[in-house]
Symmetry: none
Subunit: 235 residues, 2 copies
Amino acid sequence: MTTDTTHILIIDDEREIRRFLRISLHSQGFEISEAASGREGIEMAQSVLPDLILLDLGLPDMDGQEVLKSLHWQCRAPVIVVSVREGEEEKVAALDAGAADYVTKPFGIRELLARIRVALRAHAGAETSLTPIRAGDIDIDLVQRRVSRGGETLHLTPREYAFLARLAQTPGQIVTGRQLLIELWGPVFEHNTHYLRILVSRLRQKLGDDPRTPSLIQTEAGIGYRLMVESDTAP
Amino acid sequence: MTTDTTHILIIDDEREIRRFLRISLHSQGFEISEAASGREGIEMAQSVLPDLILLDLGLPDMDGQEVLKSLHWQCRAPVIVVSVREGEEEKVAALDAGAADYVTKPFGIRELLARIRVALRAHAGAETSLTPIRAGDIDIDLVQRRVSRGGETLHLTPREYAFLARLAQTPGQIVTGRQLLIELWGPVFEHNTHYLRILVSRLRQKLGDDPRTPSLIQTEAGIGYRLMVESDTAP
DNA sequence: ACCCGGCGTAAAAGTTTCGTAAAAACCGCA
DNA sequence: TGCGGTTTTTACGAAACTTTTACGCCGGGT
């Protein structure tokens, strides 16, 4: 339930508009980030990796079309343009530049929310083609949400999968036990380290990994765990 | 998909509007089909299999929402609603019912064309394979809208078919319960998870699938469902 | 050797999610 | 208006998952 929240980035120079949008969207359960300029927006787009972007075309520091192109370049999130300008040329240009939708101010918040749902819905199918991660004889396919061993699908529980997927996101790197607990269970469970031990135990059984000589999930005593990919020998 | 020209179906009862759209779209290289009523439109949607549908909500013979739902269930083509009504509720209802966009008459043809390009662009990734999908002794033909078991056609209710078709669009891939509820029932029903359980139960009976050892519809407890294709054996 | 803290495993108890049946409400259609 | 098929409500037993509880292991420090 921690990664389930949809993240929306608002790029608008008017504080009042941002405030209005933030409150409206937050009440719908979305997580919000804000940027007040084009440059800041582009930076945040690559740092927070939002699921959707609301962009005001009338920014002071950059041309709207430029912002749109930059955003389109560096993150795959759909962009909904929000603008005061009614001009048809403006709309056509924005839509052809990659915008998913174009809403004219003043707009009804309910319509905007519906259009956000449409954009998210349309984008859900077009989710990227990430290549499966291979570790030993284990394949981890984050797109299909499937883990297989020698071609045969393994059945993992939600938490087991979440754990493995988290390690797979940063292959070879150590992930702190604390960090794992916070990300998988929530900040309250920061100190329930035995949850991890039990989870890892079951997981290693399913993956056919020996804790004495791990070839997949390696324990870093006192620190956390790491997923070994390709050739990694204990230092 | 035999031709590479993009096929657009126009559903509108006003002859003049159809004529205007036909000429405008034809000049852009689109191939056009026309329907003057909801019923005719739904029929044509499954016979000509358009790449996109332009739908007027103010049809004389059927409620616009009904047409929208029917279209959404039987062909994957994006629907752009064209309507004289400005009402926000109307827009929200149409968008949540599956419409890809909502354009208010009178509209600029250039904007409409841009929005058509957006819809086609967004939809390009979600191409479904036109060859029937085989899972065990079940054949799922998304083109003919037919599901058969050992050659014999099964009778599925609209929702049952919609569910199965959605799984078949991403074979082997897991689909979240939340996503299924939103796509089949609408965003409001996001939490009615028991709808899915009942639907799946009936569906498995009809398909002859045992939930304990599923060979077709596999449950991922806490996550969602997936259609098993090829060789997958339950542990 | 001894104690001790971090780790791994196993089996239980507890909680959530799933599957199924049957009844009630709904809806297009004659 | 009543009818047949479909969807939604309601209810409960079964299964899956998580958390608790308990115990054995290994290595380092004293």
